[in-house]
């Protein structure tokens, strides 16, 4: 029996809250001497790794990391592409559950990020705020009464908080509703981007919605507004899926099972194709068409099949053709391991 309504967690993949902070006594990254960069990275990382914050932190020094390992962190949304590609003393303090990442010497001295599953902006902020208080108790932040937390780029002034929700919007994409959505959200002070943030294209119909205004509204007000916007996108996606299911169920089932078939039996598969087929499978799971695969499995798989994560699992840099073979094998193992071999 197919559901008439879809769970929010099938559409809202993850939430993220990021706080930008700078230490008052140093110029911003890119304007520091190498010794100052080292001081910032060393002092903040050793403080965080030495405190008892209800979670254990460890420091990953990006200067000592090979390209595909740092690229793998980018694909898992633990660090930004900017932190991975820049030079100098930099790294990320990572919690044992990998939900908290504190990037050091990215665009700002400190970029504290908390990730969560589904739509959970409040919880993410609560955890970010606690860690922010801990850092604030030991270091002096760059701050002004009118402009709030002072950041390298004026777009982050004020709260320094960028919150985002990653949504799976295949019906919007299929029915051409993404462009109107981008325009409408822009007017309301929100941005909608592809899976890897600024400048990235949508892959597997995954989109990130984030707040743009950081100076003026409080953290609570921004989170509340973003939560409402995300919910309205989720409701619209639910409505479109229900309509699709009602008017064209056989077409939808066909799309889903074809995706299932290719993913189960392909011997090599390109990343873009895999993401598109996983997107169809997600719809199948949310509609109750596919019952033996969970959304959580698909979330995990979405980053595991990215180029750098494949190289990391092979412990060497793989050529594109090698990745396509490994990707197909990994999908088979993760999703169809216990099923009858073709």
């Amino acid at each position: 029996m197919m559901p008439n309504s879809f769970r929010t967690s099938d559409i809202a993949i993850s939430s993220r809250v990021r706080l930008a902070r700078n230490l008052s006594e140093y110029p911003f990254p890119g304007h520091m001497s190498p010794s100052q960069e080292r001081e910032v990275a060393d002092s903040v990382s050793s403080f965080l790794c030495g405190i008892a914050a209800g979670t254990e932190f460890s420091y990953l020094n990006l200067q000592e990391m090979d390209d595909f390992s740092s690229g793998a962190l980018v694909e898992r949304h633990i660090i930004s592409p900017e932190l991975s590609s820049k030079k100098g003393s930099r790294g990320v303090v990572l919690s044992s559950d990998e939900k908290v990442g504190i990037m050091l010497n990215e665009e700002d001295h400190i970029r504290l990020q908390v990730l969560g599953d589904g739509l959970c902006l409040g919880k993410c902020y609560e955890r970010a705020n606690q860690i922010d208080d801990l850092i604030d108790s030991h270091f002096s932040y760059a701050w002004s009464e009118n402009l709030g937390y002072l950041t390298h780029c004026p777009t982050n002034l004020g709260t320094g908080m960028r919150a985002s929700v990653m949504l799976h919007l295949p019906s919007h994409a299929h029915l051409g509703e993404i462009h109107p959505l981008i325009a409408n959200l822009g007017k309301l002070g929100f941005a909608i981007r592809g899976i890897y943030g600024e400048g990235s294209r949508a892959s597997g119909s995954l989109y990130q919605i984030s707040n743009q205004i950081t100076l003026g509204p409080t953290e609570g007000e921004s989170l509340e507004r973003l939560g409402k916007v995300a919910l309205s996108c989720i409701e619209r996606e639910q409505e479109l899926r229900s309509r699709f299911l009602r008017d064209n169920a056989i077409f939808l089932e066909d799309l889903v099972w074809r995706a299932y078939g290719i993913l189960a039996y392909a011997r090599r598969i390109h990343g873009e194709e895999a993401m598109e087929l996983i997107s169809r499978l997600r719809v199948g799971v949310s509609c109750g068409i596919v019952k033996d695969i969970s959304s959580a499995q698909l979330n995990e798989l979405s980053w595991a099949i990215q180029p750098n994560n494949l190289s990391k699992s092979a412990a060497r840099a793989l050529a594109p053709q090698e990745r396509d073979l490994l990707r197909a094998r990994l999908i088979k193992e993760r999703l169809f391991n216990n099923k009858k071999e073709a």
Partner: protein, 163 residues
């Protein structure tokens, strides 16, 4: 080449540095060079090398160019080009350039969010008043008049404390 500071005398002091790919040059006459407090001083051997090295390593204050931020050396042109500042002090030093830009991004708002530990007392009080005013509006909207009266009293006493 004329001195960048006074523009009257021939520059006989030339200083250049490149920190993190950021190249900076200064050309001054000896009079102006000797007047600049934070300029790398001549050491006993009469050369500037030791001072330059310590400056490059960040152990001494950066040399400001005329019109540049004395803390980080960023100038107005680089802010215009990149849309980004070099340090917290740039927000004060280049407020004429940055204020219209900030308004364009965020509108006319001022910060109403979280405060750090080092925020001044006046900012902490303003924050308390903002929170209470917000609660007051919510209480009135919900027709919780008793609660609203209590909030109004607290607001009055806080504001009284500032007079």
């Amino acid at each position: 080449m004329l001195c960048q500071n006074c523009g009257n005398h021939e520059a006989d002091f030339h200083y250049s540095s490149n920190v993190n790919g950021e190249a900076r040059e200064i050309h001054l006459c000896s009079d102006c060079a000797s007047k600049m407090d934070s300029f790398p001083a001549k050491d006993e051997s009469g050369d500037y090398l030791g001072s330059m090295i310590s400056e490059l390593l960040g152990t001494q204050k950066r040399t400001p160019q005329p019109g540049s931020c004395p803390f980080c050396g960023t100038d107005a042109q680089s802010i215009r080009n990149s849309g980004k500042v070099g340090c917290a002090h740039c927000y004060d030093n280049f407020s004429a350039i940055l204020t219209p830009y900030i308004r364009q991004i965020h509108g006319n708002g001022t910060h109403r969010g979280k405060l750090p530990n080092n925020a001044g007392e006046s900012a902490k009080l303003a924050k308390q008043l903002d929170v209470l005013e917000h609660e007051l509006r919510a209480a009135v909207a919900a027709e919780e008049y008793e609660k609203a009266a209590g909030i109004r009293d607290r607001l009055k006493s806080l504001k009284g404390g500032t007079e």
